[in-house]
Symmetry: C2
Subunit: 724 residues, 2 copies
Amino acid sequence: MKRTNLLQTLSIVLLMVFAAESLEAQETKATWIWYPGDFEIWLSNQMQNKRTERGAFFPPFWRQDSHFVLIDFHKEFVLDESEEVELYAEGQYNVKLDGKLIEGEPTTLTIPAGTHKLNLKVRAQDHVPAIFVRGKTVVSDGSWLVTNEDKEWIDETGKASDQSGTAWLRAALWHFNSPENRPSAFKLATEPDGAVSMEQQGGRWLVDFGKETFGFVKLHGVKGQGLISLYYGESKEEALATETCETLDRLHISGQAQGDTVLELSKAFRFVNVEVDNGMQLDSVSMLYEYLPVDERGHFRSSDELLNEIWDVSKYTMHLTSREFFVDGIKRDRWIWSGDAYQSYLMNYYLFFDSPSVKRTTLALRGKDPVSSHINTIMDYTFYWFLGIYDYYMYTGDRAFVETFYPRMQSLMDFCLARRNERGFLEGLPGDWIFIDWADGLSKQGEVSFEQLLFCRSLETMKLCAEIVNDKQGEQQYAQLAKALKRNIFASYWDEDKQAFIHSRVDGKPTDQVTRYTNMFAIFFDYLNEAQQQGVKKHVLLNDAVQQITTPYMRFYELEALCTLGEYGVVLDEIRDYWGGMLKLGATSFWEAYDPNKQGAEHYAMYGRPFGKSLCHSWGASPIYLLGKYFLGVKPVSAGYATYVIEPQLGDMEWMEGTVPTPNGDIEVRVTTNEIKVKTAGGTGKLLLRSKTKPTCEQADLVDLGAGKYEVVLEGTRTYTVVY
Amino acid sequence: MKRTNLLQTLSIVLLMVFAAESLEAQETKATWIWYPGDFEIWLSNQMQNKRTERGAFFPPFWRQDSHFVLIDFHKEFVLDESEEVELYAEGQYNVKLDGKLIEGEPTTLTIPAGTHKLNLKVRAQDHVPAIFVRGKTVVSDGSWLVTNEDKEWIDETGKASDQSGTAWLRAALWHFNSPENRPSAFKLATEPDGAVSMEQQGGRWLVDFGKETFGFVKLHGVKGQGLISLYYGESKEEALATETCETLDRLHISGQAQGDTVLELSKAFRFVNVEVDNGMQLDSVSMLYEYLPVDERGHFRSSDELLNEIWDVSKYTMHLTSREFFVDGIKRDRWIWSGDAYQSYLMNYYLFFDSPSVKRTTLALRGKDPVSSHINTIMDYTFYWFLGIYDYYMYTGDRAFVETFYPRMQSLMDFCLARRNERGFLEGLPGDWIFIDWADGLSKQGEVSFEQLLFCRSLETMKLCAEIVNDKQGEQQYAQLAKALKRNIFASYWDEDKQAFIHSRVDGKPTDQVTRYTNMFAIFFDYLNEAQQQGVKKHVLLNDAVQQITTPYMRFYELEALCTLGEYGVVLDEIRDYWGGMLKLGATSFWEAYDPNKQGAEHYAMYGRPFGKSLCHSWGASPIYLLGKYFLGVKPVSAGYATYVIEPQLGDMEWMEGTVPTPNGDIEVRVTTNEIKVKTAGGTGKLLLRSKTKPTCEQADLVDLGAGKYEVVLEGTRTYTVVY
């Protein structure tokens, strides 16, 4: 009972959080606001430029955009009585009341009773122009309108233009709810943490923090003057390899700097090898753990301790890689990669359900117009960006986000459409990276079927978003394009003999190769009929002769395809084998790539460098998604979980229980071999199950669907128990 | 003799300056370099946001763009021997030698003998990423390549991409030729200047600087604590009108601030009214005159002292409005307006010939893609931007500039082309300002013929630039578009009865109105045949029933049209009357608008404000252009004065003499009623003259063209004397 109450309270709080976030909602509290997408672009520049490689600045190799430097904010208010308003801005600014400019940069303003229009215009080059306005009823919030070109010209008689051509958008916000809590001062949270061991040998200290972590190293009791070098290691081997470790710092200690010192940049490590000049001394080493505060709403526990541990380490991996944005890995690249982020979004829906992080990451990836290259320069990553928005809408129901950023979706799609070849396919043009996966000898030449498949799904996403924003013409156009492309894909790549899509066409001719990528995506995109599905399952997915996948990145989709095909046992075994394999090697977070055939420190090598591999990579955390979506079995059917299904799969577990977050609150599921208990959280769901005997449910009717399938309709927030 | 030598020396120096500026030239001296166009955008943001109106920040109402924040610079060098190189950057940076990243931010580097590639990658948010590299032969200059997306990805084996899709541009530069002289620290020059009078009355000092000026007011010997208010006036009336003057400053003087103090922002004024709190004292007031150092290459003197004074005041007006960029007016708006700048460019070719100022202004106006509005939001101003590039090329022959920025010309033209209506014309869409001129009751509705005419000329400019950059397809396309539009303009607007273009068509039907704009531009665009020209001259230009022009802005073109028609006498009279009229009213610089029918302080009013009018406006300085081009008669025939004509027109003057700058040096012309003396400066020119009797020329053959016309071919740098 106590737990249920707590959850109910939590749901209410969370509903409030969501209401506060929605751009539609009426706000009564002031918050810092800015031009949509600009804070995210600015913050991503800050974050992505913090990467260093062996002490050198190591920025991304794609275009970095900037916020708009001059923004006009306005809102019209109807006041019953006059009101004193506080005004704050990040940048140089002016204030207009009813179009009349006020001298100086006023910090307070009295607005008389009646209808009044308040404008603030702010300029800032080195951070995002933002405002915070606070009166009794006049507050800055998501209902304000903003523009980057106000077009408020006057004619020679002093008459102002009507500004009918100005594109006003709803202001954006996050969680900066006081004048002091300025967007430009945003920092992640930190918390002190200690090492588990520290070995000294002469002027060298090898410090072990016991697990993969991220933060600012703190040196205590530094004595003497000279150079201190810090060599970071995700493995002990890396920290000791001073010539080849991926990251390092050097501190020049002068007289004043003695004592305690905190490193300037946060780093990823488990081990730190601190080497000091002759005659220097050190008392101890600790760290400030740096993290994004998020709620842990998703949970999973089962009778299988290995699965539990895999889920826990996945969760920790997600905590480490969910930062200012969802990054790929914390040692490297510490950048926002669309393919990696796409998986983080999906895991997030089963763990934090932190929508601001999805939105921040989506906006940072997209940047600004004009589009001059694929996202991260990678063609497949452009398409994951579209897919991510579709999922975001399905999981959250946030129409306002789609409405605000639909133009940026359109221009990115225009970029893609303009690059089609004469057969309507996309090939890699100069400057396009065809990534797909890290896999030996994988061909990127010609018209790769995988890219066309993602392109098709992206067009379908555009069709759906056009519908949301009521762009009738776009809806029709994208639907036609998607349909034609899908037909073309089947005609050009589906091989009836091989019962599979072939990998590519080069110079207009099909190649002989079959790879897993196109085939497994076609399954969960639901592009195949039943016979084709079975063909793919047999000839590709369960066929060892087809090149194996060695990255957790593509393993994610492979296992999702197997789940879609009902191969739960195979999937659980794979999870235990592959992720369990990393745990056996001492992993405390999951890796960028894992090949069970490698030995010892070979595991750490990649990109031709002995420690090039990231040992904490977000795409390694996929069990969170698979266990939540396909074993606890909770997924939305319509936007924002207005309707949803729960279709639990116990596999070979004796029991499992868990929580899946939704916009309406958390759904709890507990499954044993003869009972399913579900606590719902708003919306209308369907609990689907299979049973040899007819189950019972006291809380609702149980529909017999035939062939051993049963259904219970779940309404509102209640607890249902099905005994079978 | 002495003068000639000086001019020769000057020519050589100037040639060196031009060589140093050309992106093609081999540099041997290091200079700061950056991504083309970025410094200009950054600096224009700095400048345009310095405008205040009655103490409030008053930024532009159009979009302000930003520089790219992350730039890669590289060059390949072949060294005979190893070389030590100094490295400087504005921003966070890294250095790669032959693709290998060097630890930290190295400030020196030794490059071994042989072929080596040096990369610097720089990030800066609040100013433009720039580098300065200086070795014996390895120096940063315009031969380096830069990009904003280097696409230097690596595969899983560590192999780097070939970067074939990366758009590399030649680096841009100006005059920052030492490590200390950083682009981000750019400031105009200043020079102390004193007041001519200062009247004290209680706590008020009225200071007169004797003429319109611009700079930072300096208060000497401030005593006491409290508020000092400064009210600026271009007129005495304005400085005294504390409630309605356009600009003011307030200084809060505390204990520490006593003594001398210089105001933070520079302002335009002739008078300053300083008012201090009770008990405060002041010794005196002076100023720091702020200016762009430019050479005065153009000169004009004649037997007519009024014309000489008009030319001098025009020159001073140009000095005041030629700043970080060519601005409209110095009190207001202090912004870069394309229509105003276009005229400044033309005047500049006859005064400073300062090409960097033309380039800076052109780039600042254009900003970045995507194009989301007309330049300055004004349709006509978009077209002047195109025309300005054509003139720039004609006067300077700078192909490199056109080559680098042709893509920005294309995208702006795409924006225009996409806005044509079903008849192929451009009408004002929401957000478009149709300016044309400040004139009572001027209609901006429907399809305005003036806009189509400028559009046509812009398409012709695109055709020419396509030719320069060898874009065959573009050349053909733009030529066809221009031809079709010209045909359409004649068919839709030329009225045979009226012998004029009509002003507009509304709802597809011609209006009855005739205005001067389209008609006078059609003359110097050379769109009319002889009969049409005479028709326009009689029925429009010399017809008082057609609405008169009251701004120097359009008077510029009206007089140019009259010059084209050979009406030199009319033009000289107009200049004496109109500009002379302002001088009679005490003008020390020329105004934004002048209506001889107004009285006293009425002259200062505009925009519904008593002192809204700018009394120092660049478009007021057009006599410089008219006297240089049509009276001294010097103009290029092909790009960069490779060929040119000199066709002096003495009008009713007894004599005139002057200098016209060209890329090849200065051309000097002296004309009396019976002698023309010309000193040429490279290229091939033609001296054209009319004479009743056959003239003589000792230095060259004189060709009799018939009908009293004669021609002398001018070669290289020589002096020619024609007696007639």
